[in-house]
C-alpha cells in the first residue's frame, strides 16, 4: 500500500503540496496573519520560526482548518492543497484533516489505551478491513514514532500513563496512523528531553520520505537540523522563506538576521 504511494511520489520529487495565496487571518479585529504567500513542497520538512506571538501556530492551523474551531477566527485568501482550495465552500474540513494531520504542542493522548489511541484514526476513516490489518497499522505507526519497543508489551495500558515524551510520540504515531499527506507539528519537542527530541527529529526526517512535514519550532538548531526549507514570521508577516541553509547562513532580511542571531525574539 505504502510502496505504491512511494512510487507515485518519486515521479515528481519537489512538487508543490500546499500553496497559500494572500492569506489573512483575523481574531476578531486583531490581524494575526498578513498577506502570507508561501509554497510548501511535498516530501520536504518546512520549519516555521519567529518570535513568540508572531502567528506561526495561527498560520499552521489554517493549513488544516483547525482555526474553524475558534469562533472569532476569520481566514481570507486561498490555500491550495494539490491545487484545490481548502477554504472552498464544498470542502468538508473533516475530509481535509484526514489528509492533513496535526501534532500539537502539548501531548494530548486520548484517555484510552495506547492501542486505541493509534487505532482511532484508521477506525473512523475505515482504513482497514479487519483486526489483523489494524494491528499491522498500529504496529507500523508506533514503530515510525520510535515508540514500539517501549510499549509493545502494554498496548492496553492507558496512553495517558506514559511519560511526557512517550505521550508526544504516541500522538505522532496517532497522526501517522491515518497516513496523512501532510503532517503539521506545532512545537512537537517542547515537552521532550534531548534524547526524545533526537528521536522525534530522526522520525521527522524519516517521515519526509512519505509526507510533507511542516514544523513550528523555537529552536534554531532544530530548524537547522531537520528542515530543508525555513519560513521566518514576524508580527504576522512572512518575512523570509527559503532554503534552510540560505536562511541561516545569509539571510536577506535584516529582521531574520537579528532573530537568528538572537537580537529579537
Amino acid at each position: 500500500m505504502n510502496d505504491m504511494r512511494l512510487m507515485e511520489r518519486v515521479v515528481d520529487d519537489t512538487r508543490i503540496k500546499i500553496s497559500a495565496k494572500d492569506v489573512q487571518v483575523w481574531y476578531g479585529d486583531s490581524h494575526a496573519i498578513k498577506d502570507v504567500n508561501i509554497d510548501i513542497l511535498d516530501k520536504t520538512v518546512t520549519a516555521f520560526i519567529g518570535p513568540s506571538g508572531c502567528g506561526k501556530s495561527t498560520f499552521l492551523r489554517t493549513l488544516n482548518r483547525m482555526n474553524d474551531t475558534i469562533p472569532i477566527c476569520r481566514v481570507e485568501g486561498e490555500i491550495l492543497l494539490d491545487g484545490e482550495n481548502i477554504y472552498d465552500r464544498k470542502v468538508d474540513p473533516v475530509q481535509l484533516r484526514a489528509r492533513v494531520g496535526m501534532v500539537f504542542q502539548k501531548p494530548n493522548p486520548f484517555p484510552k489505551s495506547i492501542y486505541d489511541n493509534v487505532a482511532y484514526g484508521p477506525r473512523i476513516h475505515g482504513l482497514t478491513r479487519n483486526k489483523a490489518e489494524l494491528d499491522e497499522v498500529v504496529e507500523s505507526a508506533l514503530k515510525k514514532a520510535a515508540l514500539w519497543k517501549e510499549v509493545k508489551d502494554r498496548l492496553t495500558a492507558p496512553g495517558t500513563g506514559l511519560s511526557g515524551g512517550q505521550q508526544q510520540r504516541l500522538c505522532i504515531a496517532r497522526a501517522v496512523a491515518t497516513s496523512p499527506e501532510v503532517l503539521l507539528m506545532d512545537e512537537p519537542c517542547s515537552a521532550l528531553d534531548p534524547i526524545a527530541t533526537a528521536q522525534v527529529e530522526e522520525l521527522i526526517d524519516e517521515l519526509r520520505e512519505n509526507f510533507s512535514v511542516v514544523i513550528v519550532t523555537h529552536s534554531m538548531q532544530q530548524a537547522a537540523r531537520v528542515s530543508q526549507k525555513t519560513a521566518f514570521f514576524h508580527m504576522g508577516n512572512l518575512v523570509e522563506y527559503g532554503d534552510t541553509t540560505q536562511i541561516f547562513t545569509k539571510p536577506s532580511d535584516p529582521r531574520t538576521e537579528s532573530y537568528i542571531t538572537g537580537r529579537i525574539g
Binding site: 484533516r97 484526514a98 494531520g101 500539537f104 492507558p158 496517532r174
Partner: protein
C-alpha cells in the same frame, strides 16, 4: 537596576527559629479560619444528627405493628349460604359478616382463657380489633375459598390505640380522656399481651399496603405512594435524561455562540430557579386542562417533574462537558474526526460521571418534590394500586412526599408515626440514589 533599589530598605536578616510578627499574624488567621470551618461542619453535622434522631425516633415504630393471634372458625353457614363456593356468591358476604366472626372469635378466646377484665362488654372487647381486620380476613377467604368451614389461625390487626399502648403512645391516663378507647380495653390488651397472644411484629404492610382511611391508621401503608413515585421517576429518567443531554450537547458543542443562545442559557438558569409550585400550575393548565390527561396520574406528575428536573440536568451536563479539556477535542478533530464523532467518542465519555451525578441529583430532587404534585391532584386518597406500566402511568396514584403531607394532616396521633415512617422510606430511597450516583461515578470515572 542597581541604582533604583536604594530607597527601599534591605530586609533584615533574622534567625529562622524566631517567628516574626507577620508570620505569627498569618498563622493566627489561618488557625482562626480552620476553627470557623470546623465550627461550620460541626453545626451541619449536629443539625443532621438531630434531624435523623427525631425522625428515626418517631418513625421507626411505623415498621412494627401490633397484631392479635387468634383462631377463627370460618362458618360456612354464614359465609357461603349457597354452599357452592361460587366466587360471585362468596363476594356477597360483606366485611360486616366477617367482622362478626372475628369479634366472636376474639371474645370467645378471651373468655375461655379468662382474660376478660371485669365489666367489659363483648362489643367493647371486640373494639380492640382494627376495622381493617375483617376486610383482611375477607380478602384471605376470597383468595382461598377452601378455607371456609375450617378453623384458621390468623394474626388480626389491632386497633391503632392498642398499637399505641405497645408503642407507649397510649396510657391508662390518656385512655380515660379518650372516646376511642377505654381503660378496660387496655386491660384486655395487656392481658392478651401477657398471655402471648398480642404482640408487635414487623410491618410489611406499611411498605406494601395502600393508604387507609382516617380511622384506620394501623392499616395505612405506602404501597401506592411508592409505586406512584417509582412510575414518576421512570418517566423523569426516560424523558429528562435524553432531552437534557441532547440539549446540553447541542448548546455546548454545536450551537453558534450568539445572543440567541445566550438568551437560552440565561433562561435555563432562570428555569432552575423557578419555584416548583409554578411547575405544578403549569402542569395543571397544560397537561390536565388543555391536553386532558388524567388527574393524579403518574404520567402528569412525571411530566411536571421532568420539566422541573430538565434545567438541573442541563446545567450539570453543560458544566461537565465544559470541563472536558479542549486539547482532547483538538486531538480528535486533528486526525479528522467529525464533530459528532468527537463528541460521542471522546467528550461524552469523559463527561459521563458528571452527567450521571447531575441526573441523579436532579431525580432525587424530583423524588422529594411535593408542591407541584399537590396541584395536579396527587394529593387525592388512592387505595387502588396503579396497573403495571405503561397503562399504569394513567391510573391515579399517590407519591411518597405527598403521602407524608397527607399523613401529617390527619387528626389521629398514630398518623404522626406513619408520616415519620414514610419520611424514613423516602430518605432510604434518596440515600440509595446517592449511592448509585457515587457508584456510577466510580465506574465511569477514568483516573487516567
Amino acid at each position: 537596576m542597581t541604582a533604583e533599589a536604594t530607597n527601599i530598605p534591605a530586609p533584615k536578616r533574622r534567625s529562622l527559629y524566631q517567628l516574626d510578627a507577620r508570620t505569627r499574624r498569618r498563622n493566627a488567621s489561618e488557625t482562626r479560619f480552620r476553627a470557623y470551618g470546623v465550627a461550620a461542619i460541626a453545626f451541619g453535622m449536629i443539625a443532621l444528627a438531630v434531624l435523623l434522631w427525631s425522625i428515626l425516633g418517631q418513625g421507626l415504630s411505623a415498621f412494627t405493628q401490633t397484631r392479635i393471634a387468634m383462631d377463627v372458625t370460618l362458618d360456612a353457614a354464614v359465609l357461603d349460604k349457597s354452599g357452592k363456593r361460587d366466587p360471585v356468591e362468596l363476594a356477597k358476604a360483606t366485611t360486616l359478616a366477617y367482622g362478626k366472626i372475628l369479634d366472636q372469635a376474639l371474645v370467645k378466646q378471651a373468655t375461655d382463657k379468662g382474660l376478660m377484665p371485669e365489666g367489659l362488654s363483648a362489643k367493647d372487647a371486640a373494639g380492640i380489633l382494627s376495622k381493617e381486620a375483617p376486610a383482611q380476613l375477607r380478602r384471605m377467604v376470597l383468595d382461598n375459598p377452601a378455607l371456609i368451614g375450617t378453623t384458621v389461625q390468623i394474626e388480626a390487626l389491632a386497633n391503632g390505640r392498642i398499637d399505641g399502648l405497645l408503642k407507649g403512645r397510649v396510657t391508662m391516663e390518656s385512655a380515660k380522656l379518650d372516646s376511642n378507647v377505654s381503660p378496660a380495653q387496655l386491660v384486655l390488651a395487656q392481658n392478651l399481651k401477657d398471655a402471648g397472644l398480642l404482640a408487635k411484629s414487623f410491618n410489611f404492610d406499611f411498605i406494601t399496603a395502600p393508604d387507609a382511611s382516617e380511622v384506620r391508621p394501623e392499616a395505612a401503608g405506602l404501597g401506592v405512594a411508592i409505586l406512584g413515585s417509582l412510575y414518576m421517576m421512570m418517566i423523569v429518567l426516560v424523558l429528562a435524561l435524553p432531552i437534557g443531554v441532547a440539549a446540553s450537547i447541542y448548546l455546548e458543542e454545536f450551537a453558534a455562540k450568539n445572543w440567541f443562545t445566550d438568551l437560552i442559557e440565561v433562561n435555563i438558569a432562570n428555569l432552575a430557579a423557578v419555584p416548583s409550585i409554578v411547575y405544578g400550575i403549569l402542569g395543571l393548565a397544560v397537561f390536565i386542562n388543555f391536553a386532558g390527561m388524567p388527574q393524579s396520574s403518574p404520567l402528569v406528575g412525571g411530566l411536571v417533574l421532568t420539566l422541573m428536573t430538565l434545567p438541573t440536568i442541563i446545567i450539570a451536563t453543560r458544566a461537565s462537558l465544559k470541563a472536558v479539556p479542549p486539547s482532547i477535542k483538538d486531538a480528535a478533530l486533528g486526525i479528522g474526526a467529525s464533530k459528532t464523532q468527537t463528541v460521542f467518542h471522546h467528550v461524552l465519555p469523559l463527561a459521563m460521571p458528571g452527567i450521571m451525578t447531575g441526573t441523579i441529583i436532579g431525580m432525587a430532587h424530583a423524588l422529594g418534590e411535593t408542591a407541584p404534585l399537590l396541584l395536579i391532584g396527587m394529593v387525592a386518597f388512592v387505595r387502588d394500586y396503579p396497573a403495571a406500566p405503561p397503562e399504569g402511568f394513567l391510573d391515579p396514584a399517590a407519591a411518597l412526599p405527598v403521602q407524608v403531607y397527607n399523613f401529617t394532616r390527619r387528626a389521629d396521633p398514630a398518623f404522626l408515626e406513619r408520616a415519620s415512617g414514610a419520611i424514613i422510606v423516602l430518605l432510604v430511597f434518596l440515600a440509595l440514589m446517592n449511592v448509585a450516583a457515587i457508584l456510577l461515578r466510580r465506574k465511569f470515572e477514568r483516573r487516567w
